[in-house]
């Protein structure tokens, strides 16, 4: 066994009631690349922030080469040789590469910067690890991939022996990502140890020696990359959760929303590629996939905030052009956006204002051109009562509600109007189990009442529990639909890994 350089021992961290990290233990050996795999909200970034000293752990400790690392002190982490490459770079575009790297590395009150010596050291590092970059280039003139190289060099310049990369490929093109993994392997070969955070199965399999899977703040599995498969990792990552409301058998109705080979292209990048589906009244169609595979584009397209590039959309059997947001409201399409605090509700406004916002021009909420507050508040109070929104009334400022209650408000705002179609993007993400069950029960009720629900989710259990039919979304493409009664988690894991594409080809 090689020498262990880093040991995380029983680290826990809570934010309020939410246990982001729950007694996490893992090790890192010299010259090893470990992937930290998990869904959004699994606690990956929290763990790395503790490691780097941005957060204080509630419990547990971190040992670096056998010695305890003082918690909550970034300087100590840097000093011990831990370097972090954030997803959002910590760089100044107007300064040169060299200046970005040198900041903070010299005594503040020295009378002269040793720029010459720094340049030589930077060049030596760049050569040693194949990270070519011009030290005197203005950072803002570099490509994203080059900027990431500067971030890595910055850590190496501070003599990092452990490098943590937070979703390093999120901003890179495929080619840049390949180059990056080449560099990482070279660094490991030369004795550095690396942890990279990811939720992309492909790159985990390609680059890591060992994979640590995190779910709900806990380590659920650890595998050697050579001894596992994408399907197994997908299943481990999304897992199995507690019992939730059960879907009863139910006859589906006519198709209400259809997409035929719809593509969406933004800034030259295909977000959706020839996507086809048929959504019937009274059914739930689950779109499963690891996030970042086009879900956001699909939800935006159907919510009227994104235009399609090609293909046809049929609403209630009629071909329509691009939807506008007002159209969706007018044609009875309810929407639950993925990010409730940014798109779902306006935190600084009262609950009643959020409740009527998209219907404020309807006659029932206005009187002689003014808002009929009494009617609006009455409407909001109905939602608060019927959908069990707790933590405030119609006049409460919305941001004071917890995530679950805000979600119930958004759900209520849509379902109170008996929509014919509901586009629900990650409706239960980040909610505790109680709120999840409540949200699921409401969605099933809507189905029973004849609403067609498109459920976009990366939670296997949610999709298996709720959906009648399931399609996987991978790289902007949708798989053919399968009946939920005919698949298990393992088969869905394979679908999420893109197995159907090979069959088709």
């Amino acid at each position: 066994m090689t020498e262990t350089v880093l040991e995380i021992d029983g680290v826990s961290k809570s934010f309020g009631d939410n246990k982001a990290n729950d007694a996490i233990s893992m090790t890192l050996a010299r010259g090893e690349i470990v992937a930290l795999l998990g869904e959004n909200g699994a606690g990956k970034t929290t763990l790395m922030s503790i490691l780097f000293g941005h957060y204080m752990p509630d419990e547990g400790c971190i040992r670096f080469s056998g010695a305890d690392l003082p918690p909550g002190r970034p300087r100590a982490a840097i000093h011990a040789g831990i370097g972090m490459v954030h997803q959002h770079f910590s760089l100044a575009p107007n300064l040169t590469v060299l200046e970005n790297v040198m900041t903070g590395t010299e005594k503040l009150w020295s009378l002269r910067s040793e720029a010459g010596r720094a340049r030589a050291k930077l060049k030596a590092l760049a050569e040693r690890f194949g990270l070519a970059v011009d030290p005197d280039a203005r950072l803002g003139d570099l490509s994203v991939g080059e900027q990431q190289r500067v971030e890595i060099l910055k850590a190496l310049y501070n003599d990092a022996r452990i490098l943590i990369l937070d979703e390093p490929t999120a901003v890179l093109t495929n080619l840049e990502a390949e180059t990056l993994f080449g560099t990482l392997k070279e660094m490991a070969r030369q004795g550095l140890s690396l942890i990279f955070i990811s939720h992309k199965l492909d790159e985990v399999m390609a680059a890591a020696d060992r994979v640590v899977v995190l779910r709900g703040g806990k380590v659920v599995a650890e595998r050697r990359a050579a001894e596992t498969s994408k399907a197994e990792l997908a299943e481990l990552m999304v897992g199995h959760r507690v019992a939730r409301p059960i879907r009863e058998a139910h006859e589906r109705g006519e198709p209400v929303l259809e997409a035929a080979a719809v593509s969406v292209r933004i800034d030259g990048v295909d977000r959706l590629k020839e996507v086809s589906f048929r959504l019937h009244a009274g059914e739930i169609l689950g779109i499963i996939g690891v996030s970042g595979n086009g879900q956001a584009a699909l939800a935006s397209l159907l919510s009227g905030t994104l235009a399609r590039s090609s293909g046809d959309i049929l609403l209630y059997g009629e071909a329509i052009g691009n939807l506008s947001v007002a159209d969706t409201v007018a044609s009875g399409i309810g929407r639950i956006p993925e990010d409730r605090t940014r798109e779902g509700a306006i935190g600084e406004m009262a609950v009643w204002e959020n409740a009527v916002l998209e219907r404020i021009d309807e006659p029932r909420f206005s009187r002689r051109g003014l808002v009929d507050r009494a009617a609006a508040i009455a409407f909001a109070e109905t939602i608060v009562r019927d959908f069990d929104v707790r933590g405030g009334g119609a006049r409460t400022r919305t941001r004071l509600l917890s995530g679950g209650n805000m979600q119930k408000l958004i759900l209520g705002r849509n379902l109170a109007e008996r929509p014919r179609i509901l586009i629900a993007a990650q409706p239960a993400r980040g909610l505790d189990e109680g709120a999840v069950a409540a949200v699921h029960a409401r969605i099933l009720e809507a189905r029973k009442a004849g609403t067609a629900v498109l459920l976009i989710s990366e939670d296997l259990d949610e999709v298996i529990g709720l959906a009648d039919r399931i399609q996987a979304i991978v790289g902007g493409r949708l798989s053919p639909p399968v009946s939920a009664d005919e698949v298990d988690a393992r088969a869905l894991g394979l679908m999420m890994a893109g197995a159907w594409k090979k069959e088709a080809a």
Partner: protein, 313 residues
Amino acid sequence: MSIVLDIIASAGLWAAVLRIATPLIFGTLGALLCERAGVLNLGIEGIMTFGAMAGWLAVYHGADLWTGLLVAALAGGVFGLLHAALTVTLGLSQHVSGLGVTLFASSFSYYLFRLIVPLSGSPPTIEPFAPVTVPGLADLPFVGPILSAQTPPTYLALLLALLLAYVVFRTPLGLAIRMTGENPHAAEAQGVNPMAVRYGAVIVGSALMAVGGAFLTLSAFNSFFPTMVQGRGWICIALVVFASWRPGRALFGALLFAFFDAFQLRLQTAVDGVPYQVFLMTPYILSIVALCVMARRARVPQALMQPYRRGER
């Protein structure tokens, strides 16, 4: 045409250019230092007024002229501390805080002045800085007489521009200041304390502004009156942009503006038939033109006017 050439060839014009430029150099360097660290300091107009008053008052009460400058610098530093507390610690709007400081410092300086110096028909005066002759320089043809007409604070301003350029571009401290103005989060991640850097830059920058104001009462004139800064502070704010946040160019910009100003003064007396107000306007119009040409290429510090809060992105 010969009038113009005559004016440009006269040593008197160039002596006036240096004299007019001095408070602008101090003020611009002060504002530049604040902005390099990411804080816009619109308190400059009031801080210059207060510096003019505080420096003058100290000398009027028996302090020597250098002590007067020091008193002005300290008073400016106090207002800098106020502006920093409002914008850095509390993260308030830098515009609003700066304008508040200007209104407060201008009014307060007149109030203090009136409290201490009774109203009288002719304003009380002090003995201001006298021109110095630097051996060697004074004997140079053409340049000699120009330099010999200058007082010590003018030399100080010229040296300061070079010093600040060195500090900003050649020392670790300067890099820390620039990084703080560009990306305080990155500065923090590399062990620089952006709050401390901003406090330091705003306090020292405000002290420089106040010294610029004090030049007016301790060198250019010999008495204080509340409206004497006359928008010089705002000119400095524009000069910082003109200079693309570089001290060397700030020096050049201040001299250029001073040249326009000195030149139009002489044109007023040399040319008949044109209302003098037209000439009064020219330096400002030319400044706007110069700003349009220069500032389009400027690289604004990316974190300018953004409050820094730890842990937020």
